[in-house]
Every structure is written in C-alpha cells, then in structure tokens.
C-alpha cells in the first residue's frame, strides 16, 4: 500500500514536471489564451513575480565533475486559488507576466489536470514539437555525407 502511494506520488511529480517545463517555455500569448480559456480563476499572490539568478552548471569533459559556468536570469511566482491549490513557476528570463500566468496554470492543473491538458498542455506541446521538428530537419540537411561523394563517381 505504501509502495503504491509512493508510485502514485512519483507519477504525479513526473506529470507536474512535464507541465511546469511546458509552462516555462510557452509564449506569453499561449499562456494568456490558456488562462482565458480556464476562466481566469481568482487567485491570490503568494509570491509576487520575482526576478533572480540561477547559477548554471556544466560538467568537466561533458560528463565529469560539475563546475559553475555562469548565471542566468530566472523569474518565479506562486499563487493560491480560492479552492486552496498552490501553483508555482520558475522560468528563464525576466518576465513577470509569463511567470504569474504559468503559476496560475500550475495551480489549476493541481485541481483539474485533464482540463489543463486539453486547453494548454496538448496545443503547446504540439506547437513545440513542430518547432523542434522544423529545426531538426534544417540541421539534418547540413549533415555531411562522405559516402555520397565516393558513390557519385562510380
């Protein structure tokens, strides 16, 4: 039973990480539209959007011991819905509007994940995947194929 509870919790955590990762890179438009479709739920600022720094770390040789490579600006926010759910956001850059909207979406997700998946997660994921595919296809077109040079002469 305890094992099951832990497994459940882990699944929830993974799902929330997925949601927060998506909210962190969604555009202001996407966040605004989603919050509008969620009915602009009333909420209270637990942490007004705050801009700060996170030190980014790399690894020696790519996979060795960590080192500090430089900082990045990050904006974070936390809100509480009238129904009690506390939503949070952390995202790169200095953008209080996006951070607050992302926290609202996180809070609503905690109340009704299926709804947030439909109005926010699915469409934004689809847009991001299309962007990723376009970039990957453009990079792939610059792949050097040494064999073609040789084969072409035969």
């Amino acid at each position: 039973m305890v094992m099951q509870l832990n497994a459940r919790r882990t699944d929830d955590t993974v799902a929330r990480q997925h949601l927060m990762a998506t909210a962190a890179v969604a555009t202001l438009d996407e966040l605004e539209q989603a919050v509008a479709r969620l009915g602009r739920p009333a909420c209270q600022d637990l942490r007004a959007p705050e801009i700060g720094l996170v030190m980014l770390r790399g690894r020696m040789g790519g996979d060795g011991a960590p080192f500090n490579m430089g900082e990045a600006t990050v904006t974070r926010a936390a809100v509480r819905l009238e129904t009690g759910e506390v939503g949070m956001s952390y995202l790169l850059g200095r953008d209080p509007s996006r951070a607050r909207l992302a926290a609202v979406i996180d809070a609503v997700w905690l109340r009704d994940s299926a709804l947030v998946e439909t109005v926010f997660l699915d469409p934004v994921q689809a847009r991001m995947e299309a962007d990723r595919r376009e970039a990957a296809a453009r990079s792939a077109a610059t792949r050097v194929d040494f064999f073609t040079l040789v084969r072409g002469e035969d």
């Binding site: 430089g70 200095r94 610059t142």
Partner: protein
C-alpha cells in the same frame, strides 16, 4: 594613485547628453531596437552573455545598444546588473550529451554516430563581402531533410573511452563543494572547477591568443578537435519548496572537447588527455580556445614543466577577465593630479641634484686642470 576630485558636474552631465546624442546617430536613420540586435547581431549577444557571465539575451541586446556596440562596455553593464539580483540557487549540471544538435563536427572521426552536422557556420564561406546584404535581400528558405527526427549524437570521446584510449573525466567528489569565484576570491593553486569558471567568462581575445601560443610551441599539447557541438540544452533546477527538479527552459551552448597528447605512468598505460570548453551561445572560437587553455593549465597534473604563459595558472586566471582588465587599464585616464604633482616634484628634485652633481664634477675638473698647469 587615484585621488577623488570634486567639480565638473555640469560638464559631466553635458558629456553624457552628448553621448546619448552620439549613440542615436543621424535621426534620419531608423533607430535600432534590442530585438533587432538579438535577432540580427546574435553572435555579439552571445559574446556579451558569455563574458558577462549571465544568460539573458534581452539584457545583453539592450546592453549592446546602450554601449554603442562596445562589447566590453556591454559586458561591464551586464556584470553590474547581475549584482543587483538575489540568487535562487544552482542548477543541476546540464547534460550536453542530450543537446538538441544544431551543429556538430569532429576532426578525429569521419563517420561517427549522429554524423557531422555543419549547421549555420561561416566555415567554407569565401569571406567575400556580400553587397547584396546592403540592399536587404530576403534569404531563401533553409533546406530540410527527413521528418525532423531527433539527432542522437553521443560524445565522440566515448568511442575512445570504450577502448581506454583516453583519460576518464574526473567524477564529482562528495566532500568537494563546487567552487564559485563570484563568492570566494580566487586563490592559487585553483581547482579545475574554478579554472573552468574563470575561462568560461574570460575574454575571447585573451584566450584565443593563449590558445594560439600553445599551438606555436609555447606549451605544446598536440591538440585535435574531438568534437565541437552547438545547440540547446535543458536547464533543471530544484526549488527548495518543491523538492524535485523543474525545467527552467533551454539555453544555447557551444561545447568543445579537445583530445590532446598522451600521458602515462608506470602504473597507467599511455592515454590521450583532454581539454574542455563550454560557452554560452554560439562561439566556437571561444570554446576551442578555452579547451586549449584548460589543457595547458593541467600541466602540473601531468607532471609537465610550467615553461609557457598559457601553463601559468596565476598569469592566465589573473588576466583573463576583461572587466577587471579594462577597469585597471582605463582608470589611468581618470584625474591623477595629486599623484602626478608628487611625481613632478620628485623628478624636479632629481634633476636639480643631477645638475648640482654635474656642476660639482665640472668645477673639480677645472680645478684639477689649473693645478696641473
């Protein structure tokens, strides 16, 4: 020594107003926006982020506008800005092996998993000025290949690792906190973590010259580019209040793994060694230079003699920061009137004594001549 002076407020105000005017240039030419700088002078933005040691494209673009394109001045602005912000913490180390590859080349293997992907590069261009750009032509749509499958490109050095032909990267030590030179002053000898942090924010020109010097024989390391890759990696951070890592978004990085000359001992068979470079944005020159200098600075680790500037840790790490360097060089132009007055007094006194000695010598010689006659 610099001594504070008073006065000149109006002249200073007017000088800054004149600077604002000069920055704007001819009002008949449209004003540039930070967004234009970000999109169209992207590599300048990358450099300001890397050496400003702060990943924030919008901020770097604005700093470039404010500095009139003086990148070291822009870097200075970015460094000053970061001191105004609280730090939330440190990220999980980024996984460069999982990078979304935009460019990836190897000079050591022709055929490698993931392939050689040229990406947006100046390499193989003819370096002829393109006058069509002055007219503002739209570029053709980029070519595409495949359906956008992810490019799976494991690190090339893994191929050497499998055979034990290259040294294993040092693992994390549990009892060793990651050094941070923005919190603790640099002391020598510095660990490799601090050296890499210093080089990552170091001046590109300084590191380029040092890297070049190792190639020309001042601390030779026989380097090969095992791999250079550019693309975006995900940044994960664990907020205390959540207790699990969340993704903050993606940052663009350039990574260079340099494969360098053998080292071995009675116990360990000869192996290739490594130099490593990791830089914000797209900057191969900087990442490659960093990797060369990283390897050169590992001299003592491999029992090599420190015979060249690039191997001298104190020399390299103390002079790599262009904000510190420009501060100390440029402070010379500030008023040094009191100091200079003291020097003037001293040189006058020395000249007076010199003249007195010369006069005494001349009268001695004259007296000697008379006595002889």
């Amino acid at each position: 020594m610099y001594v504070a002076v008073k006065g000149g407020e109006r002249a200073i105000d007017n000088a800054h107003r004149l600077l604002d005017h000069a920055r704007r240039g001819d009002p008949a030419v449209p004003e540039i926006t930070p967004a234009q700088i970000d999109e169209q002078l992207a590599l300048a933005v990358d450099r300001v982020m890397a050496e400003g040691s702060l990943y924030d494209r919008d901020l770097a673009a604005l700093a470039i506008k404010q500095s009139r394109g003086d990148l070291i001045e822009a870097i200075f602005l970015v460094r000053a800005f970061r001191t105004t912000l609280p730090r939330f913490g440190a990220s999980e180390p980024v996984d460069s092996g999982a990078m979304r590859i935009e460019r990836r080349v190897s000079a050591t293997y022709k055929d490698l998993p993931g392939g050689q992907v040229l990406g947006p590069t100046f390499d193989y261009t003819h370096r002829l000025v393109d006058f069509a750009l002055a007219a503002g032509v739209s570029p053709p749509e980029p070519a595409t290949a495949g359906q956008g499958e992810a490019i799976d490109a494991p690190h090339v050095t893994g191929l050497l690792d499998d055979e034990g032909l290259i040294e294993v990267n040092p693992g994390a030590q549990a009892d060793h906190p990651v050094g941070d030179l923005t919190r603790e002053p640099l002391e020598f000898p510095a660990g490799r973590d601090l050296r890499l942090q210093n080089l990552a924010r170091g001046d590109e020109g300084f590191l380029l010259a040092l890297g070049y010097s190792t190639q020309r024989g001042f601390g030779r390391t026989h380097p090969f580019v095992g791999e250079i890759r550019f693309g975006e990696v995900e940044v994960a951070f664990t907020p205390e209040e959540l207790g699990f890592p969340v993704s903050l978004g993606r940052v663009a990085l350039t990574e260079c793994e340099m494969v360098t000359q053998f080292a071995g001992t009675a116990e360990v068979a000869p192996q290739f060694t490594r130099g490593y470079g990791l830089v914000f944005g797209q900057s191969e020159r900087k990442a490659m230079s960093m990797a060369l200098v990283d390897r050169a600075l590992r001299t003592r680790e491999f029992g090599e003699d420190v015979v060249a500037p690039a191997q001298d840790e104190e020399f390299v790490l103390s002079h790599s920061d262009n904000v510190q360097a420009t501060g100390f060089v440029e402070h010379l132009k500030l008023p040094h009137y009191v100091d200079f007055q003291a020097e003037l007094g001293l040189v006058r006194q020395l000249r007076r004594e010199h003249a007195e000695r010369a006069a005494a010598k001349a009268s001695d010689a004259a007296a000697h001549r008379e006595a002889a006659e």
